[in-house]
């Protein structure tokens, strides 16, 4: 198992090197550049040249690339041309926000999706089944920003049950040692801040989790239906096992395998940022920050953030593979 993990991590090196070159060329191929974006349309060529020189953009791209790679190895991702803050700092500020949001979305999707999908399969062909199939289709097709605005309008603006935007009530005196606001509330013993941070996550979490929820319902339903017809379930019945034990021990564990794959894939996607959700709820996360950086042609941020996303994606996939091996002895890796 350890060897397997090590080999997979070693594979990261060529992947990241290849990706970084493509990335480097891609951001530079975008029309315009950071200087033009900073100075606006009416900038003089002299001003543009000055800014370019400041960021080293006047040198050949491979020189820039080598400098950048060298810095990356020292943990320096450069400085944002838009905010003038170090990219690492921006990463540490926005990524925890997105992690919290993604976790809430996944807890919602899995927590509701697995039971619903399971129920639909158990009641195969009944109205419960039809409703959940139709509902999940609806969940996949409804545009996220529309759903986000609806949730915000109803639960925050009309009913006033939940906050409309942001991560924390600015009037609260809350410390943020880790950057994970929910965790910060706990760490600093400030339960009010903890509750407030959690409340800020509910609506964006639901908006973001709806598509994964719909997918999880469908996958769970399909795989439970498959497993229910497996011979080993019949064997379990033939032994005289109680139906509840059969469901828990013999059906669900197998049925969850495809769910694990899908959840892993979704987590990877969600961690890449949720631009629409973060925009609707003015949630200062990774996706929103990156979208703004594209507009500003913020090369350092784009390079750093996308590279980081790639690392996260590979790690999540590795986690899924390890989980697979833990669940299914036939694919247990050595």
């Amino acid at each position: 198992m350890l060897g397997f993990v090590a080999r997979r991590l070693a594979l990261l090196v060529p992947i990241l090197l290849g990706l970084s070159v493509l990335l480097f060329l891609w951001v530079r191929a975008l029309p315009g550049g950071p200087a033009e974006a900073l100075l606006g349309e009416r900038a003089t060529p002299e001003a543009v040249a000055r800014v370019k020189k400041l960021y080293g953009l006047d040198r050949p791209w491979y020189e820039q690339y080598l400098t950048w790679v060298g810095n990356v190895f020292r943990g320096d991702l450069g400085v944002s041309s838009r905010t003038q803050h170090p990219v690492v700092e921006e990463l540490l500020r926005t990524f925890p926000a997105t992690v919290e949001l993604a976790l809430v979305a996944m807890v919602f999707a899995v927590g509701a999706g697995v039971p619903l999908g399971y129920l639909a399969a158990r009641r195969h062909g009944t109205w419960i089944d039809h409703v959940s199939v139709a509902g999940s289709l609806f969940g996949i097709t409804i545009p996220v920003f529309f759903l986000g605005y609806m949730l915000k309008f109803v639960f925050a603006e009309k009913l006033g049950l939940l906050p409309t935007d942001g991560r924390q009530d600015p009037l609260l005196d809350a410390g943020h040692p880790t950057g994970f606001y929910v965790l910060d509330g706990l760490v600093t013993g400030n339960m009010e801040a903890f509750g407030d941070a959690l409340a800020h996550l509910v609506l964006p979490g639901v908006a973001l989790g709806t598509i994964p929820l719909a997918i999880v319902v469908r996958i769970t339903r399909a795989s439970v239906l498959d497993v229910l017809h497996e011979d080993y379930v019949r064997t379990a019945e033939a032994k005289g096992l109680a139906p509840a034990t059969i469901r828990g021990r013999h059906v669900l564990r197998n049925a969850l395998l495809p769910v694990v794959t899908v959840v892993g894939l979704q987590v990877g996607l969600l961690l890449g940022g949720a631009v629409l959700t973060e925009t609707v709820f003015a949630f200062p996360g990774f996706g929103k920050f990156m979208a703004d950086s594209i507009v500003a042609r913020d090369y350092a941020v784009l390079q750093g953030f996308i590279l980081f996303t790639a690392v996260i994606f590979v790690l999540v996939n590795l986690l899924v593979d390890v989980a697979y091996g833990l669940i299914d002895p036939r694919v247990r890796v050595t």
Binding site: A236, L241, H250
Partner: protein, 347 residues
């Protein structure tokens, strides 16, 4: 119950298992009756789709509620099971009656070790600690001839060979000393030498436990040595029933002759079958009128039209030997003695 409890250990009376489907009613088992005593073996033989598995699942009460229409009576040790509650039948499964399935790889759970699965089966019916159940599992694995059972108990099914897996399956089925054991094609997935070993093993274990054994197969060769009695099934019905001697030395039904003629023999190429049965098994929805075998029967013309108009009854020909055919007894015996037997022996 309408009728008093029988004295036989297991008795089926007019068992019918029908499945309503979009295409029509599938009559998988249609009026099956037989008796079986403890310590005896019944072989049930028939082509694919004749209703053998549906019958055995029916005895164990494993047909999903609502999907199957079941009527008739199943008496096991003085208790009627068709009308009994699901919960009660469940308490009998594993302990009173157990089953060995055809494909041990797909029939064992891939995520649990062989030991865990035997332990689970044992602890359903015995209130013992895991450690005690584990000792019992190792013991059972040893009894069915698995080498180093104390090590193999922790292997997963996919780490076993086919034959070993079937042994483990048998160990699991026998872990609670069932009084009725049903083996549904226990050796079909195995090669010939392993087949013989597994059959021997089942026979030994049956003698040891004095259980009633039903062996289901499409291969008469498998039940030849094993069975006291043999039931030949066709289209969900019994078409011939008798002792193993009756079936092998005095068979009277044209379908049984066909099965005997198509029996693979070691001294012949498998492809070179003496007298294969022509045509395909009957539809269980639109069963041929009259005798279900008539479209494939070479003697259908000799029954004065009755083969296609009248369903033949299962009648006793001699001393418990039952046959379902319109041909007069003497004519059947004549055909067997003068046509079929010489042809089979001629090879």
């Amino acid at each position: 119950m309408s009728t008093p409890a029988p004295s036989a250990f297991l008795e089926l009376r007019d068992l019918r298992i029908h499945f309503p489907t979009e295409d029509g009613l599938v009559k998988s088992v249609d009026g099956l009756s037989f008796k079986l005593e403890r310590g005896k073996t019944l072989g049930i033989v028939g082509e694919s789709g004749s209703g053998k598995s549906v019958t055995s699942l029916g005895i164990l009460g494993l047909h999903k509620g609502g999907r199957a229409k079941i009527s008739g009576e199943i008496w096991l040790d003085g208790e009627e099971l068709v009308g009994a509650s699901q919960d009660h039948v469940r308490t009998l499964r594993g302990k009173k009656m157990a089953m060995i399935f055809q494909d041990p790889l797909s029939s064992m759970h891939p995520f649990y070790t062989v030991g865990q699965q035997i332990i689970e089966a044992y602890r359903i019916h015995h209130d013992v600690s895991k450690a005690v159940a584990r000792k019992h599992a190792i013991d059972m694995l040893g009894r069915v001839g698995i080498p180093q059972p104390d090590k193999r108990v922790d292997s997963y099914p996919h780490e076993f060979s086919g034959g070993m897996r079937q042994r483990a399956m048998i160990a699991m089925a026998l872990s609670c000393d069932p009084e009725l054991l049903i083996a549904d094609e226990p050796t079909t997935a195995l090669d010939v030498t392993v087949q013989a070993q597994i059959l021997d093993l089942m026979l030994d274990l049956q003698r040891e436990f004095n259980s009633a054994l039903i062996v289901i197969t499409h291969d008469l060769g498998v039940v030849a040595e094993l069975s006291d009695d043999i039931l030949v099934m066709y289209g969900g019905k019994c078409i011939e029933y008798g002792t193993a001697e009756d079936i092998f030395y005095r068979p009277e039904h044209p379908y049984t002759w066909g099965l005997l003629g198509s029996m693979p023999r070691l001294d012949r190429e498998p492809t070179d079958r003496l007298m294969p049965i022509k045509g395909t098994p009957p539809s269980l929805i639109n069963v041929p009128s009259g005798c279900a075998f008539n479209p494939r029967c070479p003697y259908a013309g000799r029954t004065a039209g009755k083969a296609t108009t009248e369903v033949p009854q299962l009648l006793e020909t001699e001393g418990g030997h039952l046959v379902r055919c319109h041909l007069p007894r003497e004519e059947r015996r004549g055909i067997w003695e003068n046509e079929i037997k010489p042809m089979l022996e001629g090879q």
